[in-house]
Amino acid sequence: MYQYDEYDQRIVDERVAQFRDQTQRYLAGELGEDEYRPLRLQNGLYIQRYAPMLRIAVPYGNLRAEQVRMLGHIARTYDRGYGHFTTRQNMQFNWPKLEDVPEILAQLATVQMHAIQTSGNCIRNVTSDPFAGVAADEEIDPRPWCEIVRQWSTFHPEFAFLPRKFKIAVNGAKEDRAVIQVHDIGLDLKRNAEGKIGFRVLVGGGLGRTPIIGEEISSFVPWQDILSYCEAILRVYNLNGRRDNAYKARIKILVKALGIDAFRSQVEAEFAHLKDGPATLTAEEVHRVADHFVDPSYETLPASDAGYTAQLAANKAFAAWARRNVRAHKQPGYASVVLSLKKPGIAPGDITADQLDSVAALADAFSFGEVRVTHEQNLVLADVRQSDLFAAWEGARKAGLATPNIGLLTDIIACPGGDFCALANAKSIPIANAIQARFDDLDYLHDIGEIEINISGCMNACGHHHVGHIGVLGVDKNGQEWYQVSIGGDQGNDTSLGKVIGPSFAADEMPDVVSSLVQTYTTNRHDDERFIDTVRRVGAEPFKTQVYADREERKQAHV
């Protein structure tokens, strides 16, 4: 994992001092509310429903055990004993005091952490594949490139006040686990015909009010040029993006307005000036950064561990967990473990201070002291020996992190919604919990198979509802909370945006609606066909028909 050198550390320390001063000036009345807002936002500090909310950066989802412990310490000392992992791989605290934030940042800085650019109209914290470096389908490890982008974008003086927020994601595997198609810039690492490394670059994707799938702006930018190329994109956007209307200010609107070809010509014209300039990456720098991401000292092990196989056969609960929460690893004898933050009844992504400590201990004991955060709001121990899986499971179980539901219906993505977020139209967490409660039968859950439910409390789409196989969006109807349901969304290589199935539902109808959708699926599916594939094959019609017919029947039953 990347370790700060003196320069990285200094920048983070200087940021703490700068923000401490800004906050003092704000509290002293020297910096107005409007002036302080963009400054605090660039430091991840929102003012929310109950308290400020602090979003801490977890660059491309990588954490070390000591950092996880620090998050636990902060949860315990400055918050109410828990935190929340987000779809952008970051950590949020919902109850810190504004006056405490400079001190929280100072403590984070001692373990090489910060809240830089986790919000605000700047280049946000870069995201990536939580299985980077260990996935069997990986072609090029994205982590060094993420770190290079992180450094380049940190306090970039030209792009600190963009028209709107700007998100960059990097993927390096065959399967896209970084959702690069719905990012402002999606970088897909690849080799060209000569075997040289570079990036396919997508631009103009994003969710929110106007969901758009990114388009290809370049099929191959050589790695040396990637920062200059991004600079060209950002400059065209900074100068030409709309600033009159926050809803139309994202780069996706500019790309759509110009058309990808005209946008590309502008970028290429800009890039022509920058190419081979000082931002051009050097092999030395790439090696320096890449050397932080060499494989840990794996042991030479047989491809499959006999003890593990025996435990699988002997223990049904362990086997069920292994089936869902353990992933194949590129290294023989190893596996990746997903720790579920989707225990029914808990807000998706929530984790307590004690659980954070447990995760750190598990990472130290079984995974070289490293942890990853997934876009689905779970955690990953990336490098566990198969022979340790049973012990890891027992540890995770004790900590309440071993719910065997990864990729299943109860592994719901949900934003904090109306329980915390001032922008919400409706609550998200109780909807997620009600659906989880309905589907509490593990065998049935496993039988249903892979299905993604994503819930957002408003059209800002923090819960990525557009790309959920089932998407749930909180809407406001005459001051009441309603839920609009879409199906057919997907993330990954076949990213697609879900289509709304019809009129929205009351909160208490939602478990029934999901049941109807699942029913339709199980009656229509071919062997081993996932929900999303059935939707794609048979279309939305049978689902719609069933959902509203069932709804009608329930109504009749009640009269």
Binding site: P157, E158, N238
Partner: protein, 179 residues
């Protein structure tokens, strides 16, 4: 007279930024006496008439965020002062405009940030090539402005290149390759 910061030092300053009223004609608008910074439209409409003043260093031109600095490409040697307007301090177009003026067009005269200019921007503005920073009149007391000079030193070694230091950190310094 107001105070501005030029090359990191506080100066008394007597330039007036001329802003056209709605509907006022750039070709005929009356200019105040003394040193003036006129809108690009005025300059483009009256280049011949105003050229000598520009060369004498008593007339500068300011650009709005929507304006392309390439419009001044032929005048850069004559102009001793170009300003870029920040209508809101969170409107960041001026950073790119300054970068283009310096790095693309090679402008070497005074480059001044005017409008909503806050000390919290000083570091970024300087990095993008502004050598003169003019906070809105009355925004800072002389005492506050003096303290504000500390903002220039917010970060000692930024990562990426910009106008002030074109080379990124990895070219400026030998960062160790881990063993």
């Amino acid at each position: 007279m107001s105070e501005i910061i030029k090359n990191g030092v506080i100066h008394e300053d007597d330039w007036t930024v001329v802003r056209l009223a709605d509907g006022e004609d750039a070709a005929t608008a009356e200019l105040p006496a003394g040193r003036v910074i006129v809108p690009l439209a005025v300059w483009l409409a009256r280049r011949e008439a105003l050229g000598a003043q520009a060369e004498a260093g008593v007339l500068g031109v300011w650009l709005a965020g929507t304006e392309d600095p390439a419009a001044l490409a032929d005048d850069l040697l004559r102009l001793q002062l170009i300003a870029v307007d920040f209508p809101k301090f969170a409107d960041g177009r001026g950073y790119s405009i300054a970068t283009l003026l310096r790095a693309r067009h090679g402008y070497g005269g005074e480059l001044r940030a005017v409008g909503e200019v806050l000390r919290d921007q000083f570091f970024f503005l300087t990095r993008c090539g502004f050598d003169a920073l003019q906070p809105a009149a009355g925004r800072y007391t002389p005492e506050q402005l003096k303290i504000a000079l500390e903002s220039f030193r917010d970060f000692a070694e930024p990562y990426q290149g910009a106008v002030d230091r074109a080379e990124p950190l990895f070219r400026r310094l030998a960062r160790k390759v881990a063993a």
